[in-house]
């Protein structure tokens, strides 16, 4: 009996028992649907986390002032003022093999005013390197350079949220004068929107100004202390090396003895990104394994129905054997039925899975990512489950004695 004929025989047999066939494949339908949908959701979440992490900047290291202990009382981190502009300059100058850009940052909050509108926001004093480190393009206008920093020029870049709060939509922004605290300031650029961080902070609610403008004019100090530095390495593989070199350089510049605790901290955001990625991967693997278990349950459902079917159709098997059907023909027939059941169930499940993930993406704004290899693999697995589930019932059918089978009522 050839493949086409057995396929047609199988389809006919399954059509004769529509409800039972449907119930038999239900397990596989749910399993495949669940696998496709959960993996799509898992991968979507993974991609979203990765994108949020990307928005912080890539290959990122953060250097913070450390704590010092005075008379046995330790200050918290960031309480000291031992990280300076000169440190930043030295890192940029001496470690250019591994470090791409260094952005010193000092922050202050301030009321900003434009016309009859006002808003309280965070003001970041930094250098032009900041935009490069964070991978943050401008939506319009241009950034400030070294001269503006050196001259403590009264210029600023506005985040998207700040623009929305101060300006009427569509009104010109570039070249306008706004007041930051008491300092009049010219808007020279608008930052592209970055959205929220993964912990829900609005990254666009910010004003960026030259470091010296913020420190000298807004904060009003002659100190060279830097609140923090954001540093990007030249590549993902250089992050750890950059971290080591920066540590060594700062220890040397701060004249620390070999055994002394460092008076600064370096945070490796690349590691954080990796950890976040791994946790979402773990969740995806968990979802997938639950789905695989349901695939096994689906296979058992098929095996069960096939066993009943073989018993019920004993007489048919006898007839087929009497007219020349060999054991292997019967085996193949029932195996084909099981595989067809599993495959049809797989296709229905796939459709439902795709539908559910699209619906979730639409309705809950939940990122989903359909993965063709996963879908194909799941389908193959479903077919394989059909073969495994169908084999024992089919074997039993093929071993029936034709005389007994013909007499079966």
């Amino acid at each position: 009996m050839n493949l086409l004929a057995s396929l047609r025989t199988a389809l006919r047999a399954l059509r004769k028992n529509k409800l039972r066939s449907l119930l038999a494949m239900l397990g596989i339908v749910i399993a495949v649907g669940a696998v496709v949908a959960t993996v799509a959701i898992g991968q979507g979440a993974q991609a979203k986390v990765a994108a949020q992490m990307e928005s912080l900047g890539t290959n990122l290291l953060m250097v913070l002032p450390g704590s010092i202990a005075m008379h046995g009382v330790a200050t918290g981190s960031g309480a000291t003022q031992n990280l300076t502009r000169d440190d930043a300059t030295a890192i940029e100058r001496d470690l250019s093999a591994t470090v791409a850009a260094v952005a010193p940052i000092n922050r202050t909050g301030g009321q900003i005013v434009y016309g009859d509108q006002n808003w309280f926001t965070q003001v970041q004093g930094t250098t032009a390197a900041y935009l490069a480190v964070r991978g943050w393009p401008l939506a319009e206008g241009e950034a400030f350079g070294r001269e503006e920093d050196a001259a403590a020029a009264k210029v600023c870049l506005l985040g998207k949220t700040v623009v929305d709060k101060l300006f009427v939509p569509g009104a010109p922004v570039i070249g306008e004068q706004i007041r930051v605290k008491h300092v009049p300031c010219k808007v020279i650029g608008v930052l592209a929107s970055k959205g929220q961080t993964s912990w829900g902070q609005d990254q666009d609610d910010v004003i960026i100004m030259p470091w010296s403008t913020v420190v000298r004019r807004l904060i009003g100090t002659q100190s060279d202390a830097v609140g923090q530095m954001m540093i990007s390495a030249r590549g993902p593989s250089l992050v750890d090396e950059a971290e080591r070199e920066i540590t060594a350089l700062l220890r040397q510049r701060h004249h620390l003895a070999d055994a002394a605790e460092p008076d600064f901290q370096i945070r490796n955001l690349a590691e954080m990104q990796e950890a976040a990625k791994q946790s979402t991967q773990t969740i995806a693997a968990l979802l997938a394994s639950v789905a695989l278990i349901s695939l096994i349950v689906g296979g058992i459902g098929i095996a069960n129905v096939m066993l009943v079917s073989v018993t019920e159709r004993t007489r048919e098997i006898g007839i087929r054997m009497a007219v020349g059907g060999r054991g292997r023909d019967i085996l193949f027939q029932f195996l084909t039925e099981a595989v067809v059941l599993a495959s049809v169930g797989g296709v229905i499940g796939l459709t439902i899975g795709i539908g559910v993930s699209k619906w979730m993406a639409l309705k809950f704004d939940w990122p989903t990512l359909l993965s063709p290899p996963v879908m194909l693999g799941t389908m193959l697995l479903a077919g394989f489950a059909g073969v495994v589930a169908g084999f024992y019932p089919a074997l039993r059918a093929s071993r029936l004695d034709p005389i007994e089978a013909l007499r079966f009522e």
Binding site: M1, A5, R315, G318, I319, A322, D329
Partner: protein
């Protein structure tokens, strides 16, 4: 020996012993019978006489415990299950008491079934099945399912199915058991017609008047052959149908 000259069925001292737990049941205790090409033989006997066992052996559904069975000169007593299936498919046509058609399957598809296992292409299957149905007078009922056909019509479909692979031997096991007397005669008429055309027919029945449609009657009792005689005044279905 030239296979065409050798008898279609030749059994030599065949025995069949069933073991049921501790008990041995000797269903056949040495039967030697020869049926030549073109014969029409009726097998009679009470239930338990061994005639069904004999039928199963001749039909290659089972293997003898002892003795040999030659089908057209070929010893089929030692063949494997799959080889026996092949022999059944190619050389033997079965007609059963309960018709044994596949339910919810059209007459045409039922008749095509034996060809499916011989690798006959779908076009030829269709053509030969249509022809076989026409031969038993059901040319217009190909698309009916068994439930839509009368008992006599179902048995005709079964006969068409038995013929479709052009077997050497037609085995009919109580073919009229489920039919009324007139339909029984009609079915016997078809057998006689096929036999006239040269087909060897072996008919198992317990009804004496049905057996009289054959040319030769053998009787079983307790697993042995009791008698083997030619039918002196054979009944002809054509005459019976004309008379009624």
């Amino acid at each position: 020996m030239d296979p065409s000259k050798s008898p279609v069925v030749e059994t030599r001292d065949i025995e069949k012993v069933y073991v049921m737990g501790d008990v041995e049941v000797r269903a056949l205790r040495g039967v030697s019978l020869s049926i030549g090409a073109g014969e029409f033989v009726a097998v009679m006997g009470a239930s338990g006489s061994g005639k069904s066992t004999f039928m199963n052996l001749v039909g290659c559904l089972d293997r003898p415990t002892r003795g040999s069975y030659l089908l057209s000169g070929r010893d089929v007593g030692k063949l494997s299950r799959d080889q026996l299936a092949k022999v059944r498919g190619q050389q033997i046509g079965f007609v059963f008491q309960g018709f044994n058609l596949l339910p919810r399957t059209s007459a045409l598809e039922n008749v095509e079934l034996p060809m499916l296992y011989q690798g006959v292409g779908s076009k030829e299957r269709h053509a030969r099945a249509t022809e076989a149905l026409a031969r038993v007078g059901l040319g217009d009922r190909g698309h009916h399912t068994p439930a839509q056909l009368s008992g006599g019509q179902q048995q005709r479909v079964a006969i068409a199915r038995a013929l479709v692979n052009r077997p050497k031997l037609l085995l009919a096991d109580e073919p009229t058991g489920n039919l009324d007397s007139r339909t029984s005669v009609e079915v016997m008429g078809i057998f006689q017609e096929l036999n006239e055309a040269g087909l060897t027919v072996l008919l198992v029945t317990h009804e004496a008047d049905i057996a009289l449609h054959a040319r030769r009657v053998v009787t079983f009792k307790d697993g042995v052959l009791l008698s083997d005689e030619q039918v002196p005044r054979r009944r002809l279905a054509v005459d019976e149908l004309r008379a009624s």
